[in-house]
Amino acid sequence: MSTGFHIVVLGSLVPDLLQTLEPVQGPTGPALKNEMMLPAVLDPWAAHALFEAAHLAAKTPGSKVWLVSLGPKAKLQQLMMSIAQKVPFELVAIDGPSSGFTDPTEVAAALAGAIEKIPALDRTRMLLFGGCASASRDAGVTVQLVGERLGVTDQFLAADELTVSAEGTFTILERVEGGKYLVSEVAGPPCAIAWATGNLPEPPNNPQVGMQNMRTLMPALQKAQPAQFGKQETVFHSVEIPKQERRTRIVKDVPIDEMAREIADWIKG
């Protein structure tokens, strides 16, 4: 019997989080100004999912990690340069927009379609990983939509921990209201987990891992199929940068007792 997990991580690029973004009207709907030029990073929560996947695969012989990414081919290539040295994975690239304004249903269809075509993937051993929300659409739905399409009925959102018992069952901790965790036990794979931060630090760059990944990265990028999106059914009336400039009153050179009283009154009031 084959052992180990087949871990499929969904994750793509988002504009660097320190960038100032400006919305513009593109040919098919809203877009970001100079979108192709903006420096991009792997979506933070998806990155945590990837690190958790690699960690689990390293501990479980016979496991393998795929990273399924939908984005403009050229930008995906740049992104791979920054993450290829982190952990071992095989890329499945889909050429298409990485915009937050695309519809998650269409994105999920493209991702599920690509997963179904992975020849070596044993879906009875599959763990579908992703971030609990993207830093682009920020909807928190993609993993569930893809999982549902692939018939995965054990799903978890905003997980910070997955432990595998000697018997092969899982214990999963999900973030819920009030700073608590919901603890669930699952019989085993297949299972879908949308990760929050998890517990692992970002792995340091490892040139050997980079070399190993590179062998499959370029062919995967060359093979990237274009995603076929239908006409946007969503109508965006406006996209704006929220106006949250406040007129800041700066209080300084005032005795500390006076400041304290002012703050205490404000809290009580």
């Binding site: 989080l17 249903t105 830093a135 819920v176 009030g178 965790y181 965006f236 009153r249 400041m259 809290i267």
Partner: protein
């Protein structure tokens, strides 16, 4: 033109009643119903005994009430929740489904939308009705942009964040509650919900219902004017203030990153406290920040904080750039301690 059927759907809490997020969301659904010409409102509840909770909200104007009850629907589990949602949505013939953005529904509602062939928008922050057209507002790029949009596709699932509407209140009506039978499947048995794990007693610092959010930054762990770090004193001041103010505790990323890497001793803090672009975006009437710089990736997490004040030694910190209402230039160790004494 579509004649809309609006379905409000919710799950019960452990005590069998509907929670705050659900009752606020119901007010939103009732508002929507009032504004869309010719629309009808129906409601559905999932829980151990969902009928009682459905009766409790029967005064909301819903023409039909549905309940999916049973011990297998007591807890938050994807397989059973999606099956229950599927049944309620199909039976009701809903075109717009309005659901609270609780952790349980954030997980299950997208799956149900996919199963039914609907579209979904999450974390909706408000809606506007213009004749028969419903438009919603939601954030993109981690709150760096706000979009106003509409969809033609139905069924349309919309999840609503807490804190947008007042809680629904209304006397029960005599609308009968229709109990729906949802076949249990083997899938229900694959995931067993064990229960909750709460943080240690002294770490219960996240209080979603608090009036005030108190955010600590990494300055609490930095060398102070005397060239020393004062971790124990910082911990005492922060905990003392939380005790007096009953505030919920937030953190900058830098501070909780330190904690998890073992450099730090703030046992009462974890990544769950992190506010910002890669953390939480909590809703509180007031927010007070201390020893936090106020950089953009942090402050986007303050989007739903009403009145804001900050304490920093540095008059040129990020908060000074129009991000807070008042900025106190002071030593937070001394000032927060004093404020705690006055509360």
């Amino acid at each position: 033109m579509t004649i809309e059927t609006i379905l409000f759907v919710a799950h019960t809490e452990e005590d069998g009643s509907l929670g705050r997020a659900a009752l606020e969301c119901l007010t939103g659904a009732v508002e929507l119903h009032r504004q869309i010409a010719g629309a009808s409102l129906v409601a559905g509840v999932i829980g151990v005994d969902a009928t009682a909770a459905a009766v409790a909200i029967s005064g909301c104007g819903a023409s039909k009430l549905f309940a999916v009850s049973g011990p297998e629907f007591a807890m938050s589990r994807y397989a059973s929740d999606t099956a229950a949602l599927d049944s309620i949505c199909r039976t009701s013939g809903a075109t717009i489904i309005v659901a609270p953005a609780t952790s349980r529904f954030n997980r299950a509602v997208p799956g149900a939308a996919q199963r039914i062939g609907g579209k979904i928008d999450t974390h909706v922050g408000g809606f506007l009705v213009n004749g028969a057209e419903v438009t919603i507002q939601r954030g993109y790029y981690r709150q760096r942009m706000i979009a106003t949009l509409t969809r033609a596709a139905r069924p349309w699932f919309v999840t609503i964040d807490a804190g947008l509407f007042p809680k629904f209140e209304g006397a029960a009506a005599n609308t009968p509650v229709e109990s729906l039978t949802v076949a249990t499947s083997d899938a229900f048995n694959r995931t067993k919900v064990v229960g909750y794990r709460a943080p240690e007693a002294d770490a219960q610092t996240i209080r979603p219902d608090a009036n005030l959010l108190f955010v600590a930054g990494v300055g609490w762990t930095k060398k102070q004017a005397d060239g020393q770090v004062h971790l124990t004193e910082a911990a005492d001041i922060i905990l003392g203030f939380l005790d007096k103010s009953k505030a919920s505790l937030g953190s900058s990323k830098s501070l909780v990153d330190q904690s998890t890497e073992g450099h730090n001793v703030f046992s009462f803090m974890s990544h769950l406290n992190q506010v910002g672009q890669t953390g939480a975006t909590p809703r509180h009437a007031k927010g007070l920040s201390a020893c936090c710089h106020g950089e953009e990736p942090h402050v986007v997490g303050w989007r739903f904080i009403g009145e804001r004040r900050a304490i920093n030694l540095d008059a040129n910190c990020g908060w000074a750039q129009g991000k807070t209402d008042v900025l106190y230039i002071a030593d937070a160790f001394a000032l927060v301690k004093k404020v705690g004494e006055l509360l």
